[in-house]
Amino acid sequence: MGEAHRRITDYLNKFSDAVSYQDVASLAQLFSFSSNSPSLLSLADALNYFQDANRLIKQSDKFSQFGEILAPIFRSLQSYRLGNLVDSYHAFEKFANAFIQEFRNWESAWALEALYVIAYEIRVLAERADRELASNGKSPEKLKGAGSFLMKVFGVLAGKGPKRVGALYVTCQLFKIYFKLGTVHLCRSVIRSIETARIFDFEEFPRRDKVTYMYYTGRLEVFNENFPAAEHKLSYALTHCNPLREANIRMILKYLIPVKLSLGILPKAWLLEKYNLLEYSNVVQALKRGDLRLLRHALQEHEDQFLRSGVYLVLEKLELQVYQRLVKKIYFIQKQKDPSKAHQLKLDVIVKALKWLEMDMDLDEVECIMTILIYKNLVKGYFAHKSKVVVLSKQDPFPKLNGKPVNS
């Protein structure tokens, strides 16, 4: 009994001392459930054994002034230890709300790192609570609730004072929630605040948060097919990410590569190998060759993967660029044989090439494709309809993308 009593009082003292001395490192450790630290776990055991922690809290002003914060975190920890994650989440949310009330009263930003820990813990606890709900056939809604809580926290940080640099971390936790729930449209309002509110200067935020932010907003740009913006953001994330964090770098590249391909820029083979992104190898090869069959094969082979990450449509649209490359090759082959006639591409030559690539198309379909290529400025020339010939411009008949997306 004495040991349990001691452990609980120990924690209470740590908490109140941390606040008195503004010792954020010590404070943050007190809430970090997911660390499963021996001290937290043994405290949880002590609480479950002692069963009357509230009495200890009320014993002294030193602790009772924080009663609204301490009582729920004890309850949360107890439930956590017993594997009742839904209960644990409920209590943690109460704790977190009470903490925020206190946090607002502290003028300086000394406790920001503790707030980060709380934001992280509430998210992962909510995820676990939702898994528990789902496994019991109930509707999972704790993660959504954690999202609402974090929006509140964002509001607390979105002011003129020094606490505002914490807003980007909270934003990134919100992104993780919204992406997980598939409610990415909810990202819009925080993004608007971060990018347009005058109180925020993007450069002031910690680098690690900027990297995470650019990764997620870059992904959103990919979904919206804004390739220049996607390239800018994902490249930022890539350049500024800790190079030792290979898993993160891989994730950035997973989305950046399709974007780059859409802009006519190819990743080098060693990049795909180093970060295990070989699902793109055949796509790259198809673009280089002008090999439509290979592109289709590559899309089929990794269809599930590409659909899951949402890049399938982006890659599918590369088809036009592959057509351009194929037609260009036909042009050069013809040029080698007879330079004077090279600028006239007979449609049936293209049909023949396509047939070889297992794409059975008739003259009308190929005419349609060539018209599209011309319309989108991938081919410069005009279509002599009667003779079924594409007459290529003498100058720059196959304009390069030069880092710009194909005209939409």
Partner: protein
């Protein structure tokens, strides 16, 4: 569909909602790293000069052979 099947397929849908394969790993609060040398490594990862006039690769040679082939019918 039996109620059991309905339940498990709704559960599947719900479990799907819990997935984002590409959740960015958290950086530690104290994590520090040196900024990469400006431009050097980044520019070596990509090529934009691949779209050349070379038709000596295998694919192009096969393509040429195919086009020169006088098949009996289109």
């Amino acid at each position: 569909m039996t109620t059991e099947q309905t339940k498990s397929s709704t559960e599947d849908v719900k479990m799907d909602l819990f997935e984002d394969d590409d959740e960015f790993e958290e950086f530690d609060i104290e994590e520090e790293w040196a900024d990469k040398e400006e431009g050097k490594e980044v520019t070596q990862q990509w090529e934009d000069d691949w779209d050349d006039d070379d038709v000596t690769d295998d694919f192009s040679l096969q393509l040429r052979r195919e086009l020169e082939n006088n098949t009996s019918k289109n």
